[in-house]
Subunit: 432 residues, 2 copies
Amino acid sequence: MPRNVVVAQSGGPSPVINNSLRGVLDTCLRNRERFGRVYGGWHGIEGVLKEELLDLSAQSAEEIALLRVTPAAGAIGTCRYKLKHSQQEDFERVIEVFRRHEVGYFFYIGGNDSMDTANKISNLAREKGLELAALGIPKTIDNDVGDSEFKLIDHTPGYGSVARYWLNAIAVANEENAGSCTSDPVLVVQTMGRKIGFIPAAARLADPQREWPLLLVLAEAGLSLEAIHAQVNETLAQRGRAIVVIGEGFHLPEVQMGAKRDAFGHVEFSASPITVAQVLVNYLNDHGLCVPGHARGQIPGTDQRGGIFLASQVDLEEAHHVGVKAAELALEGQHSQMATILRRRGSIYGVHYAGVPLHEVANSERTFPKAWLAKSKFDVTDDFLAYARPLVGQDWVSVPLVDGRPRFTRFKPIFAEKKCPPYVPVGLRPAP
Amino acid sequence: MPRNVVVAQSGGPSPVINNSLRGVLDTCLRNRERFGRVYGGWHGIEGVLKEELLDLSAQSAEEIALLRVTPAAGAIGTCRYKLKHSQQEDFERVIEVFRRHEVGYFFYIGGNDSMDTANKISNLAREKGLELAALGIPKTIDNDVGDSEFKLIDHTPGYGSVARYWLNAIAVANEENAGSCTSDPVLVVQTMGRKIGFIPAAARLADPQREWPLLLVLAEAGLSLEAIHAQVNETLAQRGRAIVVIGEGFHLPEVQMGAKRDAFGHVEFSASPITVAQVLVNYLNDHGLCVPGHARGQIPGTDQRGGIFLASQVDLEEAHHVGVKAAELALEGQHSQMATILRRRGSIYGVHYAGVPLHEVANSERTFPKAWLAKSKFDVTDDFLAYARPLVGQDWVSVPLVDGRPRFTRFKPIFAEKKCPPYVPVGLRPAP
C-alpha cells in the first residue's frame, strides 16, 4: 500500500536546490507502488506545521522539468523556522499532520540543523507508532555540513555553483580592476559563507596561477584590519591595484553589534546596520592608500546563491542525484539517513552516493581545514584548489528564455485538503 | 599616405565597451591605405599624456576577436582623468604626442565629458596645424549621453547589457524573495546609474506584467525614506514580501556627506562611507516592518557593468557597429563627429548609424523622461518598457571557457617607442 510523501526545504537556498527536489520527485513519481502523493511543505517546515502542503503530484511534467534551471526556493519556498528541541508541541504537530495525511516518507533538504530536526522527527514517529522514513538531503552553499575530514560528505550540493559564481565574478572583477585601477585601485568584494571560509576561498579558482593581485580574507586566518591595510598597500606598491575578497563573517565588533539575528540565533549579515565590506572600505580610505584613488566595495548578496546563470553543471547533476539517492534509500527500506556524496579515490574526479546516519551528521561540525590556509594568510593552498576545482565543472548552464526573460518553474497553487485543526507554530506565537 | 590612429576609452567601463574598440580596430586594419598603426591609449587619455601607446596593430587576430566577449576595460584600460579646459598644458601635450607619432585619427570612447574633450582636441589640432580627425564613440551604462528627446542618440552602447543584467538579477531575486520571505521579507538592491534613473528603471523588464511586489525607486521620483517605508509596509501587508530597487544616486544627505569624489567632481558612490542601500535597509529595520523578519541589502557594484555573461546580444552588436561607423566617418573625411545610434520609426525595432557633431553632444544633457515615471512614483510606464525592451535582445552571449575559466583578451605589452620628453599630467602633479 503506497504511503504519501512530504518533501521540504530549510534555510538559505542555492542555485541548484530545486534539483534535489526534482530528484526526489522524479523517483517518487516513477515508483507509484511505494510512494503515494508527493507534497511539498510550503515554505519548509512552517508549511508542514500550518498544514500548507503543495500537491506536487498534481503539477505538470513541464514545470517539474524546469526545476532543473530554477534557482533559489521560489518553487516551494524555504524558511528559517527552527524546530527547537524544547518545542515538543511543534514536533507532535508534525507527527499529527503526517499521520492525518498518511505520510510515510519525509525528505528534508537542508544543513546540519535540518538533519538534526529530521532525526528527531524520525525518532518521535517511531515512539508514537507512526511508520515514517525520514531522510535528509544535504544542501548549503557554505559547504559546512558534515565533518572536516570529509568522511560523512565530500561537499554539499550548492557549493560547486557558488564556487563557480565566484570564479566568474572575480574574473570579471579583475578586468574591471585592471582597467580602471587609475581611479579605483582597490576593489573589496564580500562573499557569503558566514564564518566558514569555503566561499571566499573559491575566488582563487579564478586565478589558480596567482597572476593577479588577489587577496583572500578568510575569517579563519585571524587577520586584523591593520594587517589587511598593510597587505593592500604592499600589493598596491608592487602592482598598482588590488582585489580583496572578504567573507561576511570576518570578525568585527562593529558588525556583530546591533546585528539582526534569525530564528537559529545566527547573525543575518546582510540585514546588519553595517557590513564587513563597508567597514573595510572605510578603514582603507580613512587610513590611506599608497597610490591615488579610493577603495570601493560591493556585496552581491543573495545573487550568489541564486546565480543559476553561472551555476556548475557538476553541482546541478549532483544535486539531482542526491535527491534521487534519498528516495532510493527510502525504497530500500532505510530511514534516519542522509543521502550523501563521497569522492572516489584517484586523480580523476568521480563520486558515489550513499547513506549516512542522520544523527552522525547532526552531531558533526565542519570547518575550513587549517592546512588549506596558505602561510601568507591571504591565500589558500593548491590542495584546496585540487579539492574545489572539479566541483565547478566546465560548461555553462543554459537557461531557457521566453521573450528574453528566464523561464522558471511556476507550480499551480494546488494544496492538500486540510484535515487537522488550525495551529500556530510555537515560534510564531505572539509573546505572552 | 596612411596616418596612424589612437583609440582611447574614458570613464566607467561596460560589458561591451571592447566591442566598440574592436569595431574601430577591425575597420582600421582593413583599410591600410588610410590608417597606419593603431595605438591604444593605455588607461585612456592618461596613456596619451604619458605617451604609453599600446600597439594594437601588433596584436594577434585571436586576441582581437576575443574582445567580443571581454568585459570592462582590462584590455587597454580606462581612466577618470579629466582634461580640464583650464589645463591647456595637457591639451598641448596631447597634440605634441599625436604629432610625433604621426597620428591623424583619434577615436575617443566615452560619455558627454569625453565628447567635449574630443571636440576641444579637434579644435586645438586645427589651430596648431595638425591634420587630425577626432571622432567620438558613445559609451555608458547610464544611458546619459545626448539629449532627452533621443535626437542625438537613441541609447548608448552598454545600456542594453546593464538592462539585461538587471532583468536577470531581479528574476533571480524574485525567486529568492518568494522562497525565503518568511524570514527575509524585504530585499533592497542598489543599482548604478548615478542620479539618472535608466538603470533602476530597467528592473521592470524582469516583470513587465507587474505580477511581483517590485518597487522601483528612481532618484527622479523625489521620494523620501518615510514614503518608501510606508509603501514597503503597504506591499508587505498585501503580498507578504517586497523587492526594492534603488538607484545609487537617490538623494540622501548622509551618503553625500563625506563621500569620495573622482577627478570629474562626481561622487563615487561605491567608495562612500555608507551606501544608499544600507541607509534604506537600516531605516526599514529601525522603523519596523509590518510582518516578521528583516530587510536585507545588496550592492552588486561593478559586477553589473562587467557582466558579460548576462550581456545583451543586441547591445554587443551595436557597440561593434558604432565603432565601425566612427572609423567609416573618418574614411569619409569627417571629423569632430560622434558616431551615433538612431532608432528607425515603426513598431519593429531597427537602428541606423550616423554622425552627429561632437559639440552638440558636448552641450547636451540627458535626463530620464518625466513622462516615463508612473503616477505611483514607484514604477515606470509601459512607454519606457517599449523603449527599453528591444535593447536587451533575446539570447545568451556565449563566453568561451578554458579549463572552466572565461577566456578574455590578453594583449601583449608591445608599446610604441617613446619620442617625447617625459610628462606628468597636470592633474597628477603633487600639490605645490
